[in-house]
Each structure stands twice: as structure tokens, then as C-alpha cells.
């Protein structure tokens, strides 16, 4: 097991309380931060190489440096705790068991950005975690870590939690901002970017729970030390939520660079495939990233071992690679129907499309319907090409990335498992005999 910067002591009883968290050294990073200048904190975060942990992987220090600072206009830090990407449950785990690391990270990050009022936007389904955070915030006020003149530094901060109402789209930062304003979660057209005009038109930074929490060890150990962990531009540790057909589902903190094979099969992590079955495919970074068959997730097309880093997982582009994404690692064994799983994912995106952009609103529904008729045994010969055509007309043609996220799973499933689709269509009499479709794998050249 590598360094545990975020999950350290997570099983220690009482770590969810102020006393328990401080007994393990909690809030020492904040004490250090408040003695620094805000721009020095931004500099440390830049040096650490920290990249957004919500899925996009954008350098956090750079994102912070974009925030506009017009005279007399308040600015806001908003934590994105709207964790909804299928396969992802790392933020929920961290907030539930170690809420104070997020609170400490929020105070440090707000100080660095010069924000005096910050918000944690948490998905509504997690109202029980909302109350855990409210309790932790109350403890932080009582300890003098929130409120006026925090620890004599002259820095004031109020921190609030805001619940959502059930909508995947609110994980997109401008939809989240709309939702925080009490509106439907319709993403905004950019520019202006939130760094210039975010919540209530004020400069706003939106960061994921894990990203903000990572500032705590970064300030404690220094950006340079943090950057020594990992490989290349994938620095530090990453929370991976592993699920599906594995022996040990759960949240693991890995040092960037662990080989995928080790992650799946070693006892330290997933512990191998359930019931002695073989690995068929993996969706490595939440439902939106391209699905890869077993051979391509374990090794790149060049035959090199695939590592758990931003770069290695995306090696080969979308033809033969995927993305680290949010760290939602979904493992599928040899009994999984890729086509049925895709229908399930597509139904999800259709349900969650906000409806603003026609390609996404209509296209996701068409893809769901076409896939449904295929898995029901009524597929047509032209359906695979039709699906390919629809997804290609959504990708890149919408206001927000939900359209892309809906099209990538379809494109990658066809790219790597075309034969399985064709078998469903050609031999629908076998539809009930699920075994018939196992292990079919497209050997032909990728489409397009």
C-alpha cells in the first residue's frame, strides 16, 4: 500500500469529530497556511502538480490563478460534492468518514483565493452526509477555525453546505452554480467562465471534494514533496472507487502509477475477479470514459503495462485508450453483456440530459431506444451504424460535456465489441441464452 495522504487514519474511531481529527494532527496544515501569504499557497499548489480530481484533470493551481479579482466584488469557492458519475463513490466515503479534511481544505483554499464565503454543494441524495458536514462545520466554528479573524490571522470565512435535488448534470460546474442559485441545473454557455462570472455573477472557483482535500497534505508536506509521488504529470495520490465483479470493492488511495494489473488482481486492492471468473472489460474512470477490453486495459496497444495515471490510461487516444476520469473503476467479468450494459448507461444519460441542446436531448433518447430494441431481440442490421452515426453527432456539439459523456461509451463499445452487437442482431433467438454472447470481441479494424 502506498502513501495514504487522504485516507490516513480513516478507520480510527472518532476521526469524524474535531477532537479525533485533531488528535491525528488535523488542522496543523491550516495553522501553517494562515502564516503564509495567499499567493504562496497558490504557488505550492502549482508546484504540487495537483490536477482536478473530479474527472477533467485540469491543473488546480492554474485554475485558481484564473480567478478575477475586481475591486470590491466578493468571490466564492464552491466545492463540488455532487458525486453522481456511475461507478464513483470516493467523495461520499471521504466526507462521511473524515469530514474535517474537507473543511480544513476549504478553509485553506478559501484563504488562498481570498474568499470570505464558501459553499459545499452536495447532491441531495446524500442528505445524511449533509448533516455530517453541518456538524463538522459547527465544530470548526466552535474551535475558531471558521468565522471572524480565524486564529488571529485577520481572515474571515463563513462556510455553508447546500443540498441539491437529484440531477447528475449539477456536477457540471456551471449547472452546479445555477442550482446553487435555486434554479434548474442548465449549464451555462461559456465564456464567461465561472472564474470571471460564477455564482450571482461573482468570480467563482468550483473544485471537487478530493481536490480541495488534497490541499491539506500539500501544504503540510510542501508542493515539491507532493510532486515527488506519482509519475510525470500525474502527481500525488488518487482515490479510486472500485466496483463491479471484483472480490474487494471499495475506495482505495493509490500513488499515481500503480499498474492496472496490480490494481485489479493484487490483494491490496481489488483482490481479483469474483467467483474465479475472467476479466472481460473495464470502465476505468466513471461511466463516461471509453470502455476497454481486458487486453487493452492491462496493456497499451504498444504492449506496455498500463498504469493508473492520466497519461497511461489515455495512451493511444480513444482508439485504444481511455481516461482516468473521476476514478470510478467498474470491472466487468466474462459473463457481462457489453451491449446490455451500454443500454443501461445510455438510459442513464437520456434520463440525466437537461434538455437544452437538441443533439443531447434527442440523441440520448434515440440511442437508448435503438439499444433497447437490440437487447430485446428486435435489432436491425443497420442499427450499429445508426448508433455510431448518432453518437458522432452528439460528441462535441453541446453546451456542456454531458453530450460527450453520453457518446463516448457508445463509440467505444462499438469500437471494441462490434461483433457482440452484430450477434445480438443476427441471432436474436439466442437472446435469453446470455452465455452465447460472452467473449465475442471485434477483431476488425475500428470504425471511422
Amino acid at each position: 500500500m502506498g502513501k495514504q495522504l487522504l485516507l490516513e487514519n480513516i478507520n480510527t474511531p472518532g476521526i469524524d469529530t474535531m477532537a479525533g481529527y485533531r488528535a491525528q494532527g488535523g488542522y496543523s496544515s491550516l495553522q501553517k497556511a494562515l502564516k503564509m501569504k495567499p499567493e504562496e499557497i497558490v504557488e505550492e499548489v502549482k508546484k504540487s502538480g495537483l490536477r482536478g480530481r473530479g474527472g477533467a484533470g485540469f491543473p488546480t493551481g492554474m485554475k485558481w490563478s484564473f480567478i478575477a479579482k475586481p475591486e470590491g466584488v466578493p468571490r466564492h469557492l464552491v466545492c463540488n460534492a455532487d458525486e453522481s458519475e456511475p461507478g464513483t463513490f470516493k467523495d461520499r466515503f471521504l466526507m462521511q468518514h473524515k469530514p474535517h479534511i474537507l473543511i480544513e481544505g476549504m478553509i485553506i483554499s478559501s484563504f488562498a483565493l481570498g474568499c470570505n464565503t464558501s459553499y459545499i454543494y452536495i447532491r441531495g441524495e446524500l442528505l445524511y452526509v449533509y448533516h455530517i458536514l453541518e456538524k463538522a462545520i459547527a465544530e470548526a466554528y466552535e474551535a475558531g477555525f471558521l468565522g471572524k479573524n480565524i486564529m488571529g490571522s485577520g481572515f474571515d470565512l463563513d462556510l455553508y453546505v447546500q443540498p441539491g435535488g437529484g440531477a447528475y448534470i449539477c456536477g457540471e460546474e456551471t449547472a452546479l452554480i445555477e442550482s446553487l442559485e435555486g434554479k434548474r441545473g442548465n449549464p451555462r454557455i461559456k465564456p464567461p467562465f465561472p472564474a470571471v462570472a460564477g455564482v450571482w455573477g461573482r468570480p467563482t472557483v468550483v473544485n471537487n471534494v478530493e481536490t480541495i482535500s488534497a490541499t491539506v497534505p500539500i501544504i503540510n508536506m510542501g508542493g515539491d514533496e507532493y510532486a515527488k509521488i506519482g509519475v510525470g504529470k500525474s502527481t500525488g495520490t488518487k482515490l479510486i472507487s472500485a466496483c463491479g465483479h471484483i472480490n474487494k470493492p471499495g475506495v482505495y488511495e493509490i500513488e499515481m502509477g500503480v499498474p492496472v494489473e496490480e490494481f485489479i488482481y493484487s490483494e491490496q486492492y481489488c483482490g481479483g475477479i469474483r467467483n474465479g471468473k475472467k476479466l472481460k472489460a473495464v470502465v476505468a474512470g466513471g461511466s463516461s470514459v471509453p470502455i476497454l477490453p481486458a487486453d487493452l486495459i492491462l496493456k497499451t496497444a504498444k504492449g506496455e503495462p498500463r498504469l493508473m495515471t492520466y497519461e497511461s490510461l489515455s495512451d493511444g487516444g480513444f482508439q485504444t485508450g481511455t481516461m482516468l476520469g473521476s476514478g470510478g473503476f467498474i470491472v466487468m467479468d466474462e459473463t457481462t453483456s457489453v451491449v446490455k450494459n451500454l443500454w443501461n448507461f445510455t438510459r442513464f444519460y437520456h434520463h440525466e440530459s437537461c434538455g437544452q441542446c437538441s443533439p443531447c436531448r434527442e440523441g440520448t433518447g434515440w440511442m437508448e431506444k435503438v439499444l433497447h430494441r437490440i437487447v430485446e431481440g428486435h435489432g436491425k442490421q443497420t442499427d450499429v451504424d445508426l448508433l455510431w452515426d448518432i453518437q458522432s453527432k452528439i460528441d462535441g456539439k453541446t453546451i456542456c460535456p454531458l453530450g460527450d459523456a453520453a457518446s463516448w461509451p457508445v463509440a467505444s463499445a462499438i469500437r471494441h465489441f462490434r461483433a457482440e452487437f452484430e450477434e445480438y442482431i443476427k441471432n436474436p433467438q439466442n437472446i435469453k441464452d446470455e452465455k452465447h454472447y460472452y467473449n465475442l470481441r471485434n477483431q476488425k479494424a475500428p470504425v471511422a
Binding site: 466578493p74 458525486e83 453522481s84 458519475e85 456511475p86 461507478g87 464513483t88 463513490f89 467523495d91 461520499r92 466515503f93 459553499y119 447532491r123 441531495g124 441524495e125 446524500l126 442528505l127 445524511y128 448533516h131 463563513d158 455553508y160 447546500q162 443540498p163 441539491g164 435535488g165 437529484g166 440531477a167 447528475y168 442550482s179 446553487l180 442559485e181 435555486g182 434554479k183 434548474r184 441545473g185 450571482w200 472507487s241 472500485a242 466496483c243 463491479g244 465483479h245 470493492p249 471499495g250 475506495v251 470502465v283 461511466s287 470510478g328 467498474i330 466487468m332 457481462t336 450494459n341 443501461n344 448507461f345 442513464f348 434520463h351 440525466e352 437537461c354
Partner: protein, 180 residues
């Protein structure tokens, strides 16, 4: 719906006033989502038009601004529901590990289909999208509680427990209002 007056309890009204103060002056509309959760908590687990109008009056916004939001988010019920809404996650990993079997089992057991309420008004069955608990799939949410690693047997026990409690269960649990 009975003709009783729609009015939040004093504790809830005080909580709403505290929530409104979290936002800048004049931006009280930001309190809409928390208010709708609290409205479902107080008024039987769903949002009648009269309830939404009342929330609009508290936040000094137009009723349409409440309707358009309530109809957008999946957690807000715009039709009456049973005392307990059984929300089965149907997405990805939960589906891979048997969520469909759970849904069929509950449908048979309660003699309703997804979206329906039992004749005794005890249960409503809903399917929902990913609840961020994929490591403990399949998952069922009831109120604020996640029931994890579910099987048909565990589901039976869960249903019996709620039936015995015989209380209205909502996402924002009343105990958190009293604790303030």
C-alpha cells in the same frame, strides 16, 4: 389533499430563515432546494401545487420559479406518495449486481409496479439513477438511509421494518430539524 392550512412548523421556519442568511441580500431564491426538501418533510413526502405556492411566498419568488425547479430534480415528488418511498438504484454497477432482480422482487412482493403506491398507502416504488454507493451494490435508498449490499431476503426484512415503524420517512429527516 386535506384542507388543512399549509404552514411550516416554527422550528422549520426558523431553520429556513437561517438558511436564507447564508446567501447575499436579495438572493434568497438560493434557499429553494433546501426549502423543497423541508416542504416534502413537513407535507407528506410530496409537493402539492399549494405547497409550492407557499414556498414561493416564503422566498418572495413567483410560483412558476418553484414549479420549474421542482419538476427538474428527481428527488421532488409532484404526486402523492406512500409513507416510505423505496428508491432502487438501477444504474451501471447496481444493475450489474442484480438491481433488476430486486425491482422485480419488490414489485411482486408489494403487488405494484415501478412508480405505483401500495393500496394501504405504505410504500411507493421508484427506480433512481446512480446513488454513489457502487462499492456496496445493489443499493436501495429510503429517506436518508442507504441500504447496501441488498439481496431479496434483506429487502424483505427492510420492508417489514418500515411497515412496523409505520412512519412517514423523508430525505430530510425531521430529527435534524429538532436537533438544531
Amino acid at each position: 389533499m386535506s384542507k388543512r392550512e399549509i404552514k411550516f412548523s416554527d422550528e422549520t421556519l426558523a431553520l429556513i430563515q437561517r438558511i436564507i442568511r447564508r446567501y447575499p441580500e436579495g438572493k434568497q431564491k438560493s434557499a429553494l432546494l433546501p426549502c423543497l426538501h423541508l416542504a416534502q418533510m413537513e407535507f407528506g413526502g410530496w409537493l402539492a401545487p399549494e405547497t409550492m405556492d407557499y414556498v414561493a411566498s416564503i422566498l418572495k419568488i413567483k410560483p412558476i420559479e418553484v414549479y420549474e425547479v421542482a419538476s427538474f430534480y428527481s428527488m421532488f415528488n409532484l404526486k402523492p406518495v406512500g409513507k416510505c418511498v423505496i428508491e432502487v438504484c438501477r444504474t451501471g454497477p447496481c444493475w450489474l449486481l442484480g438491481a433488476e432482480d430486486l425491482v422485480r422482487h419488490i414489485e411482486k412482493k408489494l403487488n405494484i409496479t415501478v412508480g405505483e403506491t401500495t393500496a394501504d398507502g405504505m410504500f411507493t416504488l421508484k427506480t433512481v439513477e446512480c446513488l454513489a454507493a457502487c462499492g456496496n451494490a445493489p443499493v436501495i435508498q429510503v429517506g436518508e438511509t442507504y441500504h447496501e449490499d441488498m439481496t431479496c431476503e434483506k429487502t424483505d426484512d427492510m420492508l417489514s421494518a418500515y411497515r412496523n415503524r409505520n412512519e412517514v420517512v423523508t430525505h430530510w429527516d425531521k430529527k435534524h430539524v429538532k436537533a438544531q
